[in-house]
Symmetry: C2
Subunit: 203 residues, 2 copies
């Protein structure tokens, strides 16, 4: 392959508009910066925040709640800063997601508990994380706290909610969330159900 | 194999003294209860509480601290209810134990961070737990809290300390302790060192 250095030089000096220009982004980039920007561009459409990636919906931030209420009707919503996210039948085999919504501070948060099967040995790991139906900037105004408790034991995790624009897949793959294995889950479960105390606070 | 039902019947009625009778136990048991008692018998000798099982010392509770100070001189001791257990070089390959002592409320506690290699995939899991140099009854008077914290993230675990008479192997195998994987450890480590805040309290 023969490199055309002249063309490469031109390409490196030309700026291209962001591919979300039609959605309102006015920025332009050298081709080598363009992909990185578009990943983080605030005009990139929002994907459906439901875990599992089976729903292909995408749209604007202000349409997300309408989409959830219309298409994902089975998701429960609780009001308040301090609620209990009850995951039932945590011993169900295979990979399972539990989802609920929490509304407080005039925002909506989606709580996700995901069980993954890891390794050949059938070990299961649970991941719990909170995402804001909002921008990354809005998410940074908040903290969330997840707590498992039982007689004389307590496990808790505090962090900044993810924005649904970033999604939770990366956080889960990096264990940047509350993660625990099946024996730990059993310490806190009652009759196969696991209650997670969720507290949202404004920084 | 022919069962001698007559002998079995006799055996089930006879009581045998606990094998720690010479150490002070005055109890007797049917043979089918004897092993379970002896596992929990308060007159059973204490084993060296250092993780790794390389030291074969055993003796009375009141000799344990002397043994640790004489044979395991390299273990650091900090005074106070609230200290930082600094584990250095957590990225060292293989299974590693970090150990230190904490003295408060006129008792000595041993803090253990253990890194295990799990599964063929080279995944590493860290387990942190606190054990009291004392009886199980004494341990139940206390709670311990382990906390990892960094900018806008916090992970904590609270539980009852183990007694060194029970040991920590069972707690670790059941994840009945603070457990986390390498990516989580990286979120809280600085320059390869992990600081764990340890707080002991009297119930
Ligand atoms: Zn853009
Ligand atoms: Zn959807
Ligand atoms: Zn006995
Ligand atoms: Zn020893």
């Amino acid at each position: 392959s023969v490199r055309n250095l002249g063309l490469e030089k031109i390409a490196n000096t030309v700026k291209f508009p962001c591919k979300f220009a039609q959605s309102g982004c006015t920025l332009s980039f050298h081709h080598y910066e363009k992909v990185e920007h578009e990943d983080a561009c605030e005009f990139r459409p929002y994907l459906c925040p439901c875990p599992g990636a089976s729903c292909k919906w995408q749209g604007n931030l202000n349409e997300v709640m309408h989409h959830l209420m219309k298409i994902h009707k089975s998701i429960t919503t609780l009001q308040g800063e301090d609620i209990v996210f009850l995951a039932t039948d945590i011993n169900l085999p295979g990979a399972v997601d539990w989802v609920m919504m929490q509304s407080c501070f005039n925002f909506h948060f989606m709580l996700v508990l995901e069980k993954q099967e890891k390794f050949e040995h059938g070990q299961q790991i649970f991941y719990a994380v909170v995402q804001l139906i909002g921008t990354k900037k809005e998410a940074e105004m908040f903290s969330y706290r997840l707590e498992l408790s039982s007689h004389r034991r307590r496990l808790c995790w505090e962090a900044t909610p993810r924005s649904i624009h970033e999604g939770i897949a990366h956080a889960i793959s990096q264990s940047d969330c509350l993660s625990f294995d099946t024996p730990t889950a059993q310490l806190f479960a009652e009759n196969g159900n696991l209650g997670i105390n969720v507290t949202i606070s404004l920084n």
